[in-house]
């Protein structure tokens, strides 16, 4: 009898937990999920929903999750003006599902993104403006979205931060940058042992990169920015742990999803993926932000987007103190540029 009472009580509690909550205000925090193709993806909307302007963060990885972007600085400098949408892609962050690896691919994620935007507009009003912000792998995903069908008509602007629209080119540019900066650093006697190891590897791997070589270049690229004095240090794990309790992060899910996605077989397909050849389709206003010392996605990728998109309403800004995480390494520049861009185009 006691167990029956317990089950009933818990059921009532659970039913009440899932009550639909759509908040229009200036300091909102709504969490909801989008169920699509075997995955329930977490979406957190924070900030000023009454502005009817939404900045949708498309995170990196794949599999990194969106929790890390929800910093105090962004809360105080973007969320106070607009709403920010933190979307955990499939198999990332707090997203949940069963056996769904057959859906883990870029076309499916592009469809997910489209449905996230449709859901935002359904919840907060069809007259809402959405600005798409892709970081790192999110650059590839938003490139896929922006160049498919008439998707770009759903957004008012595209913000491209340290992204990659062309993985094969990305590897080549990373290698070139590691060699160029490496030689410069050795010449001025900075971290010579580390740079010589990197230079030696790059010289031994000139092109046609395998997945293993691509990953090794990525590892060296991650390390390389830490050898540059002017780059603001940023530690992803520390940033995440800093908000673990306050934001009630499901840490084991974030870790497991990240490990799974970053090693999943669809990365083999991503390694051959490029959208450079279809960027001419983009006519949407675009803001491009890159770190001067981003070895993971070198700034030449940003210039390629700038040169290939088919709009005059575009701007590229390079942060002199950033590596691959300009959003955190040059927060002032990031928020100022994003806010100015949105004000101009909303």
């Amino acid at each position: 009898m006691k167990q029956i009472i317990f089950i009933v009580a818990v059921s009532i509690l659970l039913a009440s937990c899932q009550k639909e909550k759509i908040t229009i205000g200036t300091n909102v925090s709504d969490t909801f999920y989008l169920d699509n193709a075997g995955e329930s993806m977490r979406i957190l909307v924070e900030g000023n929903t009454s502005s009817k302007t939404f900045v949708l963060f498309v995170h990196g990885g794949p599999g990194s999750g969106s929790f890390v972007y929800n910093t105090d600085y962004i809360s105080q400098n973007i969320e106070n003006k607009y709403a920010v949408v933190y979307w955990d892609q499939r198999n990332a962050g707090a997203s949940q599902g069963n056996s769904n690896d057959n859906h883990l691919n870029l076309p499916q994620m592009t469809d997910d993104l489209k449905k996230v935007i449709q859901l935002i507009k359904a919840r907060y009003g069809q007259n809402s403006f959405v600005f798409l912000l892709g970081h790192s792998f999110g650059g590839l995903l938003t490139s896929s979205f922006m160049t498919k069908d008439n998707n770009q008509s759903m957004v008012k602007g595209w913000i491209y931060v340290d992204g990659s629209q062309n993985y094969p080119l990305n590897d080549t540019l990373t290698r070139q940058m590691l060699l160029k900066v490496g030689h410069e650093q050795v010449a001025i006697n900075k971290n010579t042992d580390q740079w010589n190891t990197i230079i030696s590897y790059c010289n031994g791997h000139p092109g046609n990169f395998t997945i293993g070589e691509s990953e090794q270049l990525g590892t060296y690229a991650t390390d390389a920015e830490t050898y540059i004095d002017v780059v603001t240090p940023f530690n992803y794990v520390n940033a995440l742990l800093g908000y673990a309790v306050e934001d009630k992060l499901p840490l084991t899910a974030i870790l497991i999803n990240h490990l799974y996605s970053s090693n999943a077989s669809f990365n083999n397909d991503l390694a051959k993926t490029e959208f450079s050849s279809v960027l001419y389709k983009v006519v949407t206003p675009t803001l491009i932000l890159f770190g001067e010392y981003d070895f993971i996605c070198p700034k030449e990728l940003g210039y390629e987007v700038f040169n290939r998109i088919n709009t005059n309403d575009k701007k590229i800004v390079i942060s002199p103190i950033s590596g691959h995480n300009l959003i955190f390494q040059d927060q002032v520049l990031f928020c100022n540029e994003v806010n100015s861009f949105i004000e101009l185009h909303k």
Binding site: K2, Q3, F6, I7, V10, L13, L14, A15, C17, Q18, K19, E20, K21, D30, T31, F32, Y33, L34, D35, N36, E39, S40, R42, L44, R90, N91, A94, S95, Q96, G97, N98, S99, N100, D101, L104, K115, Q118, L119, A122, R123, V245, K248, P250, T252, A253, I256, N257, L259, Y260
Partner: protein, 213 residues
């Protein structure tokens, strides 16, 4: 070499197991209630322990001291849940095998593997968007998972030193749920609770072992 080994094993058997007796004892069923916290996220657990086996062990140490403890084995069934805001609520039913070793002082240690079924309820309204852009709400959205739990803990049995028929315990469990996003989900859980000895009993043949060390 072989003879030496046989002699050693035989000697060990002869000298260490001096006396084994078998008695019928009435062992109570237990009812468990606990706070089932996943670090900072609250939860609860309740269950029953069905006595399956008991062995009373008495050891005589070389120093002349006597050391006795009870080895209990229970089949357990538990209904558990936790609430992780904005992530999920998880309700899970498990059956398990508990191995408990209770000293004459009342302190005990236990280890228990469990297997069960989990049903999660997502921590927010869940929507479906069809290919035409129509949005609908999914009621009670969540997932079923196979769940394996392994845990160990310590506790104190008040009935050993007083007439109070209950125990308190603390236990650390690791929950493994699968298939979770085509892989596994791990979650550490800490249980703090009470086990009440019921007044209904199961008659068991209890073996008493005496060992010399």
């Amino acid at each position: 070499m072989c003879l030496t080994l046989i002699f050693t094993v035989s000697a060990l058997i002869c000298f260490s197991r001096n006396a084994d007796t078998l008695n019928i004892e009435k062992i109570p069923y237990n009812l468990k209630f606990s706070y089932n916290s996943s670090l900072i996220y609250p939860g609860a657990s309740s269950g029953v322990e069905y006595p399956f086996q008991r062995i009373n062990v008495t050891k005589f140490l070389k120093t002349g001291k006597k050391k006795s403890f009870i080895k209990d084995r229970f089949i357990t069934a538990n209904l558990n849940g936790y609430h992780h805001p904005y992530f999920h609520d998880n309700l899970y039913l498990t059956v398990g095998w508990t191995m408990r070793r209770t000293k004459s002082s009342g302190f005990f240690t236990e280890f228990s593997p469990e297997i069960g079924l989990s049903r999660t309820f997502l921590g927010g309204t869940t929507y479906k968007v069809d290919d035409n852009g129509n949005v609908s709400v999914r009621k009670l959205a969540g997932y079923y998972y196979t769940l394996v739990s392994v845990g160990g803990g310590i506790g104190y049995d008040f009935s050993k030193t007083t007439s109070k028929p209950y125990m308190v315990f603390s236990k650390f469990n690791v929950l493994t749920m699968f298939p979770y996003n085509s892989t596994i989900y791990l979650r550490p859980v800490i249980e703090i609770g009470m086990i009440c000895k019921l007044s209904c009993f199961r008659s068991l043949k209890v073996k008493s072992k005496t060992k010399n060390k």
